[in-house]
């Protein structure tokens, strides 16, 4: 069930997901012949209402973040090429953290027949996800163009931001930082203009894993795009980023505290890291990634067909 696509004309692209998490990963303005629109949908949402909204937009392509939350069969009759974008960490072996096991259980709810192709944000989970869905390819979640900003002079003291839910692992790492610095910790619920404004008012951003397991969180690329100095736990995969060059890597609470204390005392000491990280973020820019991804998607579906066809 695929729509007739205009020869060389613009393509309407629907992005579907929970605004709080995924609007910042979408294309938000027309680019390279793509006309985007974001549709709010979250776990437990009204699937029929979403379908009605999508049909009124008549998309050629629907890109769905967290495909596991889409009700079974919902996109069976949707006249669009559908791409599921896996965004959650998953087990990489038998001895997985309980949080990862829970996410794997969620993934098993996915109806593979809803999607023409599925992309994983992390190549290292592709094998695990492959037990449920055929993974077409892997790439990091893109960053909406609106969040790209030049590197600006560091505030004195630096303005430090962490955007992410609170977990025992994160609070353990953050506690000494909160003691020494005026850290703003937004745990949930910020998106759109408010998020953009918040990014603009900060210089340093932290990236901490949910729990004590490796991953690559999209907030890394988001903050790099905003020109922040990113201080992160070890990233795995790296998605092309290099610790010490594009961002600072820390391994425990003491290192995180020391890193911020150094920045507070010598605000320009890591300026080159900010500049390099900002440049590297161009590789995540939504208006660069999505046109290529969508062109490949359409060509691949045309060439090899789809389980939905």
């Amino acid at each position: 069930m695929h729509p007739r696509r205009p020869q060389g004309g613009p393509l309407r692209v629907a992005f579907v997901g929970q605004t709080t998490f995924f609007q910042a990963c979408s294309l938000q303005a027309p680019a390279a012949g793509l006309i985007p629109r974001f549709f709010e949908f979250r776990a437990g949402g009204d699937g029929e209402a979403l379908l009605a909204d999508l049909r009124s937009f008549v998309p050629h392509i629907a890109i769905v973040f967290r495909p596991e939350v889409v009700p079974p069969g919902l996109f069976g009759e949707l006249a669009a090429v559908t791409l599921g974008f896996l965004s959650e960490p998953l087990p990489r072996g038998d001895d997985a953290h309980a949080d990862l096991q829970r996410r794997m259980r969620d993934l098993r709810q996915t109806d593979a027949a809803n999607f023409d192709r599925v992309v994983s944000f992390d190549p290292l989970i592709a094998a695990t996800a492959g037990e449920v869905l055929a993974i077409w390819r892997s790439l990091a979640l893109p960053v909406a163009d609106r969040f790209f900003a030049p590197v600006t002079p560091m505030g004195h003291p630096p303005r430090v931001l962490f955007v992410g839910r609170s977990t025992p692992h994160r609070e353990w790492l953050l506690a000494p930082v909160k003691l020494d610095h005026d850290l703003l910790h937004v745990a949930f619920g910020l998106s759109g203009d408010e998020l953009a404004e918040l990014m603009h008012r900060h210089d340093v951003a932290l990236n901490l894993h949910n729990e004590n397991y490796p991953s690559f969180e999209n907030r890394v690329s988001l903050h790099l795009a905003a020109g922040h100095l990113v201080i992160s736990e070890a990233l795995d995969p790296q998605h092309g980023l290099e610790p010490g060059i594009d961002y600072l890597q820390v391994n425990n609470a003491s290192e995180l505290r020391r890193a911020l204390n150094v920045v507070a005392r010598f605000p320009r000491v890591h300026h080159r890291v900010r500049v390099r990280g900002r440049r590297k973020a161009e590789g995540f820019r939504a208006s660069r990634v999505y046109p290529r991804l969508i062109a490949d998607l359409l060509a691949d579906v045309d060439a090899f067909g789809s389980p939905r066809s």
Binding site: S166, P176, H185
Partner: protein
């Protein structure tokens, strides 16, 4: 002593700063110094020397070293507050106040003129008329998280518009966030009774307060000036009802705003603190 009481407050701006007026109000000239538990008291002493207060209020009985309290040359009162960090960090090696040797030097109730154990007031500048916001009512949670809080909030976070700021919110940023919401949710760290440190703030700002049962109630009446919930499911349902028909709850917001008057800083603080200052002034 003059008619205006000069009071210096020591605490964390993001936790208790909302209780202290940023500008002089009738009868009270307040100043605030940022002090974090586990840090030396030198900054507090310097602040006191500069502002020459009639009385000093310390948020958190054990937040200052005892020797600092004794070195302050005017009466010092402690205001008992809830822990300002999540549970589970009691043995953190990088937190000074988790070290038994450090804890041994911290002030106790005996080091103060008095320990005040009552709901935090709210600074006059945070009082606002209940108002509607664009885009439907959003609920606000301010304060550190805990496993209990997450368990109570997780379903609501994923079904409704909820903003949770866990740390570092004060000043203009706090005012902006309060102005962006219509609903506030207050949840405690544990199952014990309590009265959240931001209850008065939420009511004064004109938000509809959804809270676990408050104990002591502090003069508030559930169903009249705020709404109670006891479980995650009840909170989800309450948010659903409020978001479906915000106007139906406006009278409760209005009454909550009125109830907050009893906790207005310019009313509470001079009356409460003047007796301690009079002896030395």
């Amino acid at each position: 002593m003059t008619d205006t009481l000069r009071v210096s407050f020591a605490g964390r701006a993001g936790e208790t700063g909302h209780a202290v007026p940023a500008a002089p109000v009738p009868g009270l000239d307040a100043s605030f110094v940022e002090h974090r538990a586990g840090r030396p008291g030198s900054r507090v002493l310097a602040h006191v020397a500069e502002h020459d207060p009639h009385v000093v209020v310390v948020f958190g009985v054990a937040s200052l070293p005892a020797e600092t309290v004794r070195a302050i040359g005017v009466p010092v009162v402690a205001w008992a507050t809830a822990p300002d960090r999540p549970p589970g960090l009691e043995h953190h090696p990088d937190l000074p106040d988790c070290d038994p040797r450090h804890r041994a030097g911290l002030a106790t109730a005996a080091d103060y003129e008095r320990v005040i154990d009552r709901p935090l007031p709210v600074a006059d500048e945070h009082f606002a008329t209940p108002r509607r916001t664009d885009g439907g009512p959003r609920a606000l949670v301010i304060g550190h998280s805990s496993p209990r809080l997450e368990a109570l909030l997780i379903d609501s976070k994923h079904r409704h518009e909820v903003l949770h700021v866990a740390a570092g919110l004060h000043g203009e940023a706090l005012a902006a966030v309060l102005a962006s919401a219509e609903i506030a949710i207050d949840v405690r760290d544990d199952d014990g009774p309590g009265f959240g440190p931001r209850v008065a703030l939420y009511l004064a700002a004109g938000l509809l307060l959804l809270s676990e049962p408050l104990h002591p109630p502090g003069g508030l009446r559930p169903g009249e000036d705020h709404l109670e919930f006891r479980s995650s499911a009840e909170l989800v349902e309450l948010l659903h009802r409020v978001r479906a028909d915000p106007g139906a709850f406006h009278a409760i917001r209005e009454q909550g705003r009125l109830s907050a008057e009893a906790l207005r800083a310019s009313r509470v603080l001079p009356e409460l603190l003047a007796p301690f200052a009079s002896a030395s002034a």
